[in-house]
Amino acid sequence: MNLPESSLNIHYTAGLARLQLLPEEEAVYASQLERILNYIGQLNEIDTTGIEPGTHDAEAFDFTRADESRSPQPMESALLNAPRRSGDQFMVPKVVE
């Protein structure tokens, strides 16, 4: 599959990334990312027929540790950095209607 002609919709993509951008930021990123995507387009020229995508040798990491409980972080330390909390809970805006 060839890399598509770049059709980056900055506003939509920033929304997917949960980033609210100012219109001037959107304009700057659009031109910068356009150049970067054009550069990335060079990968089209490389024949990868028959090559499986991957990262590192899976067998090196294909193991699990014994299923034994370990002492967890105390609750207080998990809540230590909460921007807002109520007792032993993180506070968030209402999420149910």
């Binding site: 993509t13 609210q20 970067i36 540790r65 950095n81 921007p83």
Partner: protein
């Protein structure tokens, strides 16, 4: 001048009780007081706590009594972690030690100070830190490199004896080269990442920045090895690096990859690297031309894979559990959108958006899958090269340290400067940057060369680096 001595020398003095760990810490602190207002390497330090820890440091351990600086995306218990970002600065205190930090403590070292970096390690100059500027100790008008720029500048200026950094696309080796010190990126899986803020999880590794090759071996020895808290940490025993460090390079096969000696590299960098290769040849190494055919694709592959992984990893900064939260969110979506927009800097946003795009529906195969295929070709190039040679020698960076602002208006130009370091991360191999000369200008700027080794081949690159270092005195020169 204790703060300018290598670890091995300091350890002898500590063991002979000629100095105490507190003497050493105070010497480091006095140098920081003298020079850090100019250099700007440190984001945080707590001398009293370090002195208290130094009092109980076990001097019989390999790093007993040695203070070590920590790049500020590595968690040190009860100390702030900022990642160089406004999303965390003043808002996060680490509840636990990263494995590399607990390993340093077990080895008797005293973690001392948190060092500046490009925000979330995204950058090559430390200019992307949202918190402060770090300057190159050799020329304050130039960058220290990045992203571990604070670590490199601190070690080069004597503000730290040694430091930990992380390397996702060159972030240990390039600043080490710009600052005239040694920087080692271990193989993927050699060192635990537990407790290190993730940027690109298939690329990130932590490693030492030090003044000598022997010091790099000592610190790596302490932090390497399997960790039950990191399933990506390879379960292989760690060799005794000191056992082979002085074995020399007679008969060692050193490959010169043609694609790393290209037009566009600064002639003084090229000459210094060639000089280093001649030195190793004169010691009995065999120099063999090799080819890494897909090198020119590495930057494009990297900026797909690294940004894709970053877009997922940085989703955790949501303003709920830690970090910045915007004022008066009208709902949960608004909380996410504005907290992240207010907290992240420009480069981080740029990479998150690029990464989100290349993973988004309709583009995933075209970008991410394609990049992961080309990555396999890059890995295959290295595998074939390491069938013929023991190590590869090449430049670290096409040019010495650049001026502030020189690349910051053009992200693509900044990315392209990483051409010689990025492929090692994609392939998961190890690499070390070693000082090999200076430019002729005034002030003279350090130049480093790079030795790359196969996966888990740290012993052989350390051995070759040590052989070179012992024959030269570049590593003894310090900025005034």
């Amino acid at each position: 001048m204790l703060h300018t001595q290598p670890i091995a020398t300091l350890r002898r003095q500590l063991l002979a009780r000629e100095i105490s760990p507190a003497d050493l810490l105070r010497s480091v602190e006095s140098q920081i007081s003298r020079t850090d207002s100019q250099i700007g390497a440190y984001l945080f330090r707590d001398l009293d706590r370090a002195l208290a820890e130094a009092e109980t440091a076990d001097l019989s351990r390999p790093l007993g009594g040695i203070p070590i600086g920590v790049k500020d995306l590595i968690n040190v218990k009860d100390q702030p972690t900022t990642c160089g970002s406004r999303i965390l600065a003043g808002k996060y205190t680490s509840p636990y030690d990263a494995t590399v930090v607990s390993r340093l403590r077990s080895a008797g070292a005293v973690p001392f100070g948190k060092l500046n970096l490009d925000e979330f390690a995204m950058g090559s100059s430390t200019e992307n830190s949202a918190l402060q500027i770090t300057r190159n100790p050799w020329d304050p008008t130039r960058v220290p490199g990045g992203s571990s720029g604070g670590s490199a500048a601190a070690v080069a200026s004597g503000e730290a004896v040694a430091a930990l950094g992380t390397d996702t696309g060159g972030s240990i080796r390039q600043p080490a080269s710009f600052c005239g010190i040694v920087g080692l990126k271990p193989s993927y899986g050699r060192v635990s990442r537990y407790g290190i803020t993730a940027y690109a999880s298939s690329l990130d590794q932590a490693g030492p920045l030090t003044r000598t090759v022997e010091d790099a071996a000592l610190v790596l020895q302490a932090i390497a090895g399997p960790d039950p808290s990191d399933s990506t940490c390879i379960r292989q025993p760690v060799p005794d690096f000191s056992a082979t460090l002085r074995s020399g390079v007679r008969g060692l096969r050193i490959g010169l990859p043609a694609e790393y000696f290209i037009p566009g590299t600064d002639p003084e960098v090229e000459a210094a690297v060639q000089g280093a290769i001649r030195e190793l040849e004169s010691q009995g190494a065999e120099i063999i031309p090799v080819s890494l055919l897909h090198t020119s694709a590495a930057v494009a592959v990297y900026y797909i894979i690294a940004t894709a992984e970053a877009s997922a990893n940085l989703a955790r900064f949501d303003g709920i559990r830690y970090g910045h939260r915007c004022e008066n969110p009208k709902d949960l979506r608004d909380l996410y959108d504005r907290s992240r927009a207010e907290g992240f800097g420009a480069e981080v946003k740029r990479r998150i958006i690029l990464g989100t795009y290349v993973l988004s529906s309709g583009y995933y195969d075209a970008y991410y899958t394609k990049a992961q295929k080309v990555r396999q070709l890059i890995r295959r190039d290295f595998r074939e090269a390491f069938a013929k040679v023991d190590v590869l020698a090449c430049p670290v960076s096409p040019a010495p340290a650049f001026k502030f602002g020189e690349h910051s208006s053009d992200p693509l130009q900044m990315y392209l400067a990483d051409i010689f370091t990025i492929a090692a991360n994609l392939a998961g191999i190890c690499g070390i940057s070693v000082p090999c000369g200076f430019t002729s200008g005034s002030p003279a700027l350090p130049i480093g060369f790079q030795l790359l080794g196969p996966p888990l081949g740290e012993a052989v690159i350390l051995r070759a680096a040590q052989a070179y270092e012992q024959a030269t005195d570049w590593h003894t020169l310090r900025p005034v």
